[in-house]
Symmetry: C2
Subunit: 411 residues, 2 copies
């Protein structure tokens, strides 16, 4: 019997902020997200047993490595704790969460602080685009390429289009839904932006083509952001529930997870995509691993999904890889409104990476926090009514690292 | 009862190599160390369940993040595996090993590939010195400082000197022993270098003062290197032992471990050093945690130690923090020959970071591999006769992250 790992909540910084303009650095982000996390959950810093930080490229954006250790700086009670930083590109803080959960399952620790953080607006967009290239095979795929990632995901669009056909309007609708949802999310980067379906369908000076076909509206944002969540053993959670007047069965826990890595080169992924029914077989594998561990049969048992949508085409693929539609038929779930808030399985009620923002190393933790908020009924204006089980897909690189979590309650 | 984690061996690249001069990059290092690891141990790539890579700053030295994923590239059987990269400055691959062991203790996986890798000679020494500064609080402690790390450890020297008195000749003897031992190690970076006690005691154009008092001979090396080790559950190890004609009780396993983080700023460490009998209380805490978990009383039960000696003063401190001498009395164990090969508890028979080399993110894995080699009787010319139990101390930053492992056999 695997020990259960609960999520006790956490905190997200306002993703619309530009910390460089505020004259603040990555340390200020860490301080503020911990302030928020401890005060929001009422957890005593002295209870923390271990610290796991997800960060993609602090060495480049902030000239700072060793970020795990910085958490000890926050409070005297955190001094001496075991800390570490984990990285798998855009899936970095999902790795941090996997490690924290494993420690709890092993019985090593009872309460872990998982933090994701990324400062990105410290550099201009071309430099930032080049830094993001280190998430792929930089030398082979990105050196000398301007904005390499939209170009890599353009290739996924091509693969999909050749294999199953993709109507661009369906991608535009994914973007429009994400932007719409983000308007309900008080921490979403784009909550005040102008964007709708008509705009997403346009192309030109107001909606620039970034790759070959993908447009600005199809892209996730460059975001400064930090997220803290708290993972706990059942024993700690029982005490926490008692103290806070909650019932154990109302506190979300990790029901299942999957973690698989695809070949790093997109050339290899392209071959796999052509050869397989599911164009991203390792993404599909991570999903089915998570379903199996959660003891569920498929997407029919999910209340909602927070998925990686670094580009609209990534969410298009995710809809199928989660099994909401058969391969090649994501458009059906876009057409019938399934993925919208109010639909039978909303995707990215938070606004996702396109609407809420994408501080690379913090995104996985942000998704897990949003899954927690949904399942515990605390998502406010973007709450999916009666949500009992949420799935999260976080992807690093060009669909290279795939991490899926299933968060549920009530058993 | 905690599940035991065994070490099945591994491989170290020749630390004297300069991969940039060979026209090779970090991918070639990964490929060659995996070639060596699989062929040396006879492990089938298809048996691997998970991959943990330790790397400090591939983003800076090699313009490459997401290094966990690159391992999948090595062999078709590794495709799809869960991979990740872990970082805690110079303790990065010890974090990778901690994570792999935790997975095995949790029963998640049976066989994990732990790799450490760092390409460092891709940049000139001043640039490299600045990159190393990201292991401390760069903005506060390193920005604009040439070679910040020797200066930080000069301060540890000062603290020690004020508190207990340190005769420089004892530091020189630590360096000389490390260089001497390295001459026996076929993979040591300095094995062909000229260095002896007289030279280490000299100061001037042949042995430049780098910080305020520490000299070139007191410093660890700038090194390109990669190390792979294999951690396994008891179940897998039983099968492996049978297949390779070994007895389970002859295969080293992790008997104990400790992991503690000190405040990042050296100013804070200095205050702790003045206030505590052990100048590095979190280092001491990691040691005593490891002893407790291993069920041993102290250094008297160790056959040898592989310790972090980023500078000679670090090893001086380690001798005391391991309990080989009382605080302030490391010099006694230097004077009486305890730390030399042939002494009662040799320290760094491999040559350590000073003699063997210090590829930052690979050092922890290299130390664990050397502990394995000693305890399994495979250390060749630097074998500590009859070694049954070895301790490892790996430190990240200015004594910030402290990881200790105890590797033993025969129970």
């Amino acid at each position: 019997m695997v020990r259960r790992t609960f999520i006790l909540g956490g905190y997200q910084t306002d993703f619309a902020r530009n910390w460089t303009k505020e004259g603040k650095g990555i340390m200020a982000m860490i301080r503020e997200v911990l302030d928020g996390g401890f005060s929001k959950t009422g957890i005593d810093p002295g209870d923390i047993d271990s610290v796991h930080v997800g960060n993609f490229a602090g060495e480049l954006y902030a000239m700072q490595a060793h970020l795990g250790a910085f958490v000890c700086n926050y409070h005297p009670a955190l001094r001496g704790l075991p800390t570490s930083r984990h990285e798998a590109a855009c899936a970095s803080s999902s790795i941090a969460a996997l490690m924290a959960r494993t420690e709890i399952e092993a019985g090593t620790y009872d309460l872990s602080l998982v933090m994701g953080v990324e400062l990105m607006k410290s550099v201009d967009s071309k430099t930032g685009g080049s830094y993001l290239g280190t998430a792929a095979w930089y030398e082979k795929e990105c050196a000398g390429v301007e904005f390499p990632f939209p170009k890599l995901f353009d290739r996924l669009y091509d693969v999909y289009d050749k294999k199953y056909g993709v109507n661009y309007e369906h991608l535009a609708r994914i973007s429009a839904v994400n932007y719409d949802n983000a308007k309900r999310n008080p921490n979403a980067q784009t909550r005040g932006w102008y964007m709708n379906l008509q705009h997403a369908c346009s192309s030109g000076s107001y909606n620039r083509v970034i790759g070959k076909r993908l447009r600005a509206s199809d892209c996730s944002q460059v975001t400064d952001g930090a997220v803290a969540i708290f993972l706990a053993s059942e024993e700690y959670t029982r005490g926490y529930a008692k103290r806070t007047g909650k019932k154990l069965e109302d506190i979300p826990y990790i029901q299942g997870w999957g973690h698989r890595t695809a070949p790093i080169l997109f050339d290899e992924k392209e071959k796999e995509a052509i050869a397989n029914e599911y164009p991203l077989p390792h993404t599909r594998g991570a999903v089915t691993d998570a379903y199996r561990r959660a003891g569920i049969t498929g997407a029919g048992e999910l209340s909602c999904i927070e998925t990686h949508d670094c580009f609209s085409i990534t969410e298009y693929a995710a809809i199928e890889h989660f099994g909401l539609a058969d391969p090649g038929e994501a458009y059906r779930r876009i057409d019938d409104g399934t993925i919208e808030i109010g639909g039978s399985c909303p995707v990215n009620p938070s606004g996702g990476l396109i609407g809420c923002g994408h501080p690379v190393g913090a995104t996985g933790a942000r998704q897990l926090l949003d899954a927690y908020l949904q399942v515990s009924g605390n998502a406010g204006a973007y709450q999916v009514e009666g949500a009992k089980r949420a799935a999260v897909l976080n992807i690093g690189g060009s669909a290279t690292t795939n991490v899926v979590h299933i968060i549920g309650r009530g058993e």
